[in-house]
Symmetry: C2
Subunit: 218 residues, 2 copies
DNA sequence: CCAAAAGTGTTTGATTTACACCCATGA
DNA sequence: TCATGGGTGTAAATCAAACACTTTTGG
């Protein structure tokens, strides 16, 4: 969301695409605007940068305010002018963040309704937020392929199937279970934590954890 | 270079890391500041964004002003606050550009001296420009590995050796000539243009051109 | 004993790397 | 004929992709 200022002044906004996996689908958090312009439309969360903190800290603060999530992966996407039609002197510094949906408590107020939307079914949005989402989708997909950033989408312990379904939701295709396991383990992304989870009339699944929760390429 | 404004106002600057190959080395264009703060120090070229054009067009305009180069590769790097210590409300949107040194005519004025510096031997710079250069070096290196953007570093026709030396200067290691040729050709990056260049007491080299001068991944 | 998900290795093909000799030219 | 850089192919190794059966559990 881009707050509005005098149209003649530079305005620096941050905008965040917050991703989480819900029901095996990639979701994005949107908030409903409750002011003109674009009143009542859904938009990406964001805020104006005041210069008091570093730019990225403004994004982090907004993320925490909306989701309560901490220690998540946050990365700058790009900066664009002209996102907000109403102020030609505004620019938006866009970020994307990955959160574990179970750690999230949405800030729900009467005038501020955050809501998760399936990332592939988002249509009309305030401003030109669609552009931002498309770039974010590209980036998260390629990032997942050669880094461990999925750690911020998953809880502390998880089964291999849960991990694989997370990857599949984002990349949009199925993987071979044996190859997936081999690759995650041989790239030192995950390791068994020794526990198992029983959840039905079948063999319990070993639980895994991420070896590192620092962004790492492989 | 970041122009100075009232310290209480938002200032949006663009900064460009302009790369070219000179004498088989990767070089960066710097300009000497002729105003406070940081008077007399070398800095990356840049300018203030006024909101009249798109952000990227401001960077393109600055690039042309400094080098005269057109149709070059220009990509946004990232945006940072705090690059300019003197105004806490300033941000810099940073770009990197690749130009062919032979197409360049530097704008040389008494108060504005642009100069090429070996990219790996840049030390003291105005503001925190070093950070920007480091990111740019990372980016150009990885970009070169899986895209054709080298087209903007080279003239219209070139030998395989010239191309390889360009890659070696940037990536910082030597390649096998046979494998390099194979990869460039099988990835449809370059093709012979039918001409040859004689330049000494040895077999003339075939000249190549880029198949496409649109940024393409492979 | 049945249904459901978990676990596990091997083979094939594709890609990447390493490596050495002959060719064309001008002096 | 010599010195210099230009041109070329093959074998080995590594990596990625395809693929099916056995195990554990609860009901």
């Amino acid at each position: 969301m881009q707050p509005i200022q005098q149209a003649n002044e530079n305005e620096i906004a941050t905008v965040i695409v917050i991703f989480a996996i819900k029901n095996k689908h990639l979701n994005i958090l949107l908030v409903k605007r409750s002011a003109e312009p674009e009143d009542n439309k859904w938009a990406l969360p964001g805020g104006t940068w005041t210069g008091e903190k570093k730019l990225q800290e403004t994004a982090t603060a907004r993320l925490q305010l909306e989701t309560g999530a901490k220690d998540v992966y946050l990365e700058q996407l790009f900066t664009i002018s002209g996102l907000n039609n109403y102020n030609p002197k505004s620019i938006a510094v866009c970020y994307f963040a990955l959160v574990n949906e179970k750690d999230v408590t949405l800030r729900a107020e009467k005038t501020w309704q955050p809501k998760w939307f399936n990332a592939n079914q988002i249509n009309s949005l305030a401003f030109k937020n669609k552009v931002v989402i498309e770039k974010a989708l590209e980036r998260i997909e390629s990032k997942l392929q050669y880094s461990n950033v999925a750690y911020s989408l998953l809880p502390n312990e998880f089964t291999l199937r849960e991990l694989q379904e997370t990857y599949e939701a984002i990349i949009g295709k199925k993987f071979d279970r044996r190859n997936f396991r081999k690759s995650m383990i041989s790239n030192n992304i995950i390791i068994q934590n020794g526990k198992f989870r029983k959840s039905g009339a079948y063999r319990p699944a070993a639980l895994y954890k991420f070896i590192s929760k620092v962004p790492t390429l492989f």
